[in-house]
């Protein structure tokens, strides 16, 4: 009969109306500033710079290679290299960024900087409450504002951070083994050199040092 559907619809909405006061399950709204849902692990917003240890300036993994600056599609990264060097996580002296700015009003959260970084130095942050009343300076983050500890990285992306740590540890072990081998070789060479002068004249001492790495 005419109007049956309307009555059915009215009953349905009345049920919703009354039900929303009774059952909490119906109201799926999360009252945002007071209640928050945990962010999914793979969520991402803007990049940040990872540092090891406690001092952000010393521990910054970035070596100012500028690959991310070149790859960034909207060109929101600006890097200035330092004049001096500081040791990186393997102890090798490296350049560091004297200036590292990201304009997050330009950034499009594409994560390409993260993909191309060979040093695991730049990662995506999950922070999203970045509103500011300063249109220009407020959204231009310098390296201090971008720096976050490795522990923070573990907090926001645990799986990814564990993988990165494993990779870095492996590289470090390799580098250490290499350094050890090199040191041993150097020691052997030194020993050989110590033994050699008695037998051979000066020109002959140069040759083995050239040939050594090949062995």
């Amino acid at each position: 009969m005419l109007g049956e559907g309307i009555l059915k619809g009215l009953a349905e909405t009345a049920k919703n109306f009354a039900g929303s006061f009774v059952s909490k399950e119906r109201l799926t709204t999360v009252q945002y500033p007071e209640e928050r849902e945990p962010l999914p692990e793979n969520s991402r917003n803007f990049p940040f710079l990872v540092y090891d240890g406690t001092d952000w300036e010393k521990g910054l993994r970035c070596v100012a290679c500028q690959i991310c600056e070149k790859e960034c599609p909207p060109k929101c990264i600006y890097i200035e290299k330092s004049k001096d060097k500081k040791p990186d996580y393997t102890g090798k002296p490296q350049i560091y960024p004297a200036k590292f700015d990201i304009d997050i009003s330009v950034c499009m959260s594409c994560q390409i900087c993260v993909e191309v970084c060979p040093f695991e130095a730049i990662k995506m942050n999950t922070e999203f409450e970045l509103a500011t009343d300063d249109r220009f300076g407020g959204l231009l983050l310098d390296r201090k504002e971008l720096a976050r500890s490795n522990e923070y990285y573990h907090q926001i992306h645990p799986t990814e951070a564990a993988e990165v740590d494993a990779r870095l540890a492996e590289e470090k072990a390799k580098a250490e083994a290499k350094a050890k081998a090199a040191a041993e070789a150097a020691a052997a060479k030194a020993a050989a050199a110590a033994a050699a002068p008695a037998q051979t004249p000066a020109p002959a001492a140069v040759k083995p040092s050239e040939g050594e790495p090949k062995q």
Binding site: M1, L2, G3, I6, G9, L10, E12, T13, A14, N16, F17, G19, S20, F21, R26, L27, T28, T29, Q31
Partner: protein, 391 residues
């Protein structure tokens, strides 16, 4: 004491007016009543907007506004400040004068309707014999302001919205009038106070409201449908169908002028609900004989809020009609039913007291309802939708 409470506003007015010299008293009394009406209904409008948003939210299992003040009750204050501080933009190619006059004309005509509505015992601004006629004359002139708004904006969406609004309002005005005529036929008067007096009688503790008769129920349903369409409310909100027409005839309005249109829409809802309860629901009379001690204005405003609740409920339930469905419904269903209802009301009047007229009148109306409904839906196919593409 109770009687005092019932007449408190009347006494208050007389007491205030009494301080003035005799020559000014009539004019001062009228101005006082007008100020009360013009102050009260916008306040109710503010309350209704937040109740509507919360109600529709609950219907959709949301919270609705709950940030401004406790439970969001100060939301209308925030909205008001927002609309007052917004820039008032007039399009360069718009007709400035008409563009400016349209919202004012709309608000004024909408408020004029309250002049004849009895809001309580002895609480009517002007008690004229042709009150109903006056009301419909004022209601019909809102179409003018709607078209003024649409045409003067020089915007195709505005104009289309206005055209739709006028077509719809004129179509449903016929139904609105015809469904109210039955009440005039039975009461024998166009005066709204007389219509309420006629319904303010009780037998076995139950009131003689017109909705409790077969022709009254049918008339009330037709009236409710036509009133919903007349106030451009969902599901008849085609004139402002935001998915097609941006906002309809008030697309080019911003700031306070837009707020005036919004106000006029809601005040028109109040006014038409007030008329509906006056005609069919006994106006300010109590629903049971033992409740007659409750002040009459409480009943009037209670009925007003119940009908606003129904408006909100319908808005949360029904999807918007298509233009052809709207017109078909008006001319092929509502209008024939209204015409038949006129006949039934006449039959009721001349069949005299007794149970026979109840049976006959109900049977005629039910048969017609089922018959017209069947005839209208006969050719409709309610299967899964089929698509036909151009070759």
């Amino acid at each position: 004491m109770i009687e005092r409470l019932d007449q408190i506003f009347v006494f208050l007015k007389h007491w205030l007016v009494g301080y003035l010299p005799a020559g000014w008293q009539t004019a001062a009394g009228v101005i006082l009543s007008v100020v009360a009406i013009v102050g009260l209904y916008p306040a109710l409008f503010a309350l209704t907007t937040v109740l509507e948003r919360k109600g529709v939210g609950r219907i959709q299992n949301r919270f609705g506004p709950n940030r401004v003040g406790p439970y969001g009750i100060f939301q209308p204050v925030a909205d008001g400040i927002k609309s007052l501080t917004k820039e008032d933009i007039v399009p360069t190619s718009a007709d400035g004068v008409v563009h400016f006059l349209a919202p004012i004309a709309q608000v004024v005509t909408v408020f004029m309707g309250f002049a004849v509505l009895p809001m309580g015992r002895n609480m009517v601004l002007i008690d004229i014999d042709a009150g109903l006629l006056f009301y419909f004359a004022m209601g019909a002139s809102t179409e003018l302001s709607v078209f003024m708004a649409g045409w003067s904006s020089r915007n195709k969406y505005s104009l289309l919205g206005a055209m739709r609004a006028v077509a719809q309002m004129i179509s449903y005005e016929v139904a609105l009038l015809l469904s109210s005529v039955v009440v005039v036929m039975i009461t024998g008067s166009l005066s709204l106070t007389k219509i309420v007096e006629a319904q303010n009688q009780y037998s076995y503790g139950l009131p003689h409201w017109y909705i409790f008769t077969p022709w009254g129920l049918a008339g009330f349903l037709m009236y409710a449908i036509a009133a919903t369409a007349e106030t451009n409310r969902s599901p008849f909100d085609l004139p402002e169908g935001e998915s097609e027409l941006v906002a309809g005839y008030h697309t080019e309005y911003s700031g306070f002028k837009f707020a005036l249109f919004f106000l006029a829409e809601y005040v028109a809802m109040f006014s038409i609900s007030g008329l509906g309860s006056t005609l069919f629901l006994g106006g300010w009379s109590a629903p049971f004989a033992f409740l007659t001690w409750v002040p009459s204005w409480i009943w009037f405003f209670g009925k007003l809020f119940v009908s606003m609740g129904v408006f909100i409920w319908l808005r949360g339930t029904l999807p918007r009609l298509r233009q052809d469905q709207l017109m078909n419904f008006a001319w092929k269903f509502v209008l024939p039913m209204c015409l038949l209802n006129l006949f039934v009301a006449g039959l009721w009047r001349f069949m005299g007291e007794g149970w026979l007229r109840w049976v006959v009148c109900s049977a005629i109306l039910m048969l017609a309802y089922v018959g017209i409904g069947w005839a209208g839906m006969r050719r409709k196919q309610f299967g899964p939708r089929s698509y036909r593409y151009a070759d």
